[in-house]
Amino acid sequence: MSDGEDIILRDLNDADLVEQMKDDLYDGLADEVHEGTTILLERGWDANDVLSEALVEGMRIVGIDFRDGILFVPEVLQCAGAMKSGMELLRPILANSDSKASLGTYVIGTVKGDIHDIGKNLVGMMLEGAGFEVIDLGINNPVDNYLAAIDKHNPAILGMSALLTTTMPYMGVVIEELDKRGILKNLPVMVGGAPLNQEFADAIGATSYGRDAAVSAELAKALVGKNR
């Protein structure tokens, strides 16, 4: 297929349409992904299958190419925007669906002193796609915010994000507090953010380190025993 070739999405069979949706998602074409999602639902597809086979699978490829330096943040954000346009159609259906049990609640937030949330938002979207109920605490969260959210939502996993070298040590402060209160032994804690690495995650006692959004979603599923 060459660049710029016009395609009528409704003319495609299901398999080709799913492939085209993954390409469109990769290219950040929100309207096209929205339309592809509509068509699959009209053809009787289960919302879970549209989500996993077209949207999540498309974002998984995006995640791989982001990791490998083929795609960069601006492009990944456009991909996420395209996924979101499909998710808008699927979310209400999934919320009323009996066919898919939630993988649990995932509380996520950017740590105190840090206002960066692009990566966190991508992770949140992938987690939602994977089947978690995501509670997003937003940015600049002191330890009390995490504790209150844990108390209120009883999450399966806690996730923390930081972009700055100067703010990432605060993740260790939160983990230490969770440990002091006896919460850590029953609550896996995932950490992520551009300057982090596995060594840092190990040093602060995090359960796991998600190097990108797609990997984070896979790790989260593994942590609740639902890995593919």
Binding site: E5, D6, D23, E35, G36, I39, G69, I70, M168, N197
Partner: protein, 238 residues
């Protein structure tokens, strides 16, 4: 929504076909370096981010450091947007050229490498500025902390970033193609804080315009070269 959506690009395969892009290399190092009275132990290498090259050159002149005492090499300023590539690029350069110099000073802070740069420097017996990034060493730590604590949503720019705002910030974030992404990138910021190295009305006007384009309040601090001065002076006063 129309049901005639057309494929405009071509997904991953098309992307992979388009991606062959040469990496910008550091300028070549001198083949041989002569020991002179200005560098009795051999010259010092300052390997710096291209974003602070002008400032280092200005400081060298200001401090009267001889050309044969200190060699300046720069890596592309674009690495500012790709911090994951900084440590490997520094490692590659020093692996090839470290032996030519008596000492190596990095014109970088941690710069978002999460400690990866420090590991490289330890291997090559080199040092860097003891700050998180250039904003901190230009402003100095107490002043930087004061500004950050007063407004957590501070987006910092320097002379270099003001001068190259379009290329590195606007286009670097893809806002030239997708201006609707502005809120995604800058929605949590409140101030554009210009940490100025020089007194330039032109740059101040450009910085103010940049703030307006980003929808941020404009804040100006003349900070000069800050701790970079001492670091460059230290290349010859050991």
């Amino acid at each position: 929504m129309s049901d005639t959506a057309a494929r405009r690009t071509g997904g991953r395969q098309a992307r992979l076909g388009r991606r062959a892009r040469p990496q910008e290399a550091a300028s070549p190092a001198p083949e041989s370096l002569v020991t002179t009275s200005a560098n009795p132990d051999g010259p010092v290498l300052v390997l710096a981010c291209g974003a602070i090259a002008n400032e280092i050159i200005a400081l060298r002149e200001q401090l009267g450091i001889a050309d044969d005492a200190m060699v300046l090499q720069c890596l592309p300023a674009e690495l500012h947007n790709r911090p994951g590539q900084i440590a490997p690029r520094v490692d590659a350069y020093l692996s090839e050229h470290r032996h030519k110099y008596s000492r190596v000073i990095l014109g970088y802070g941690d710069c978002g490498t999460g400690g990866a740069l420090d590991k490289v420097l330890e291997r090559h017996d080199a040092k860097r500025l003891p700050h998180a990034h250039c904003y901190e060493f230009f402003a100095t730590t107490p002043r930087f902390n004061e500004i950050s604590e007063a407004e957590i949503g501070s987006y910092f720019v320097t002379d270099f970033l003001v001068r190259h705002f379009d290329r590195l910030v606007w286009e670097g974030c893809g806002l030239d193609q997708r201006p609707e992404m502005l809120e995604t990138y800058f929605g949590n910021y409140r101030d554009l804080v210009y940490l100025a190295q020089t007194d330039s009305p032109d740059l101040q006007a450009k910085a103010q315009e940049a703030a307006e384009r980003l929808g941020l309040r404009y804040v100006y601090h003349k900070v000069g070269y800050g701790d970079l001065t001492q670091a460059i002076a230290g290349t010859v006063n050991v």
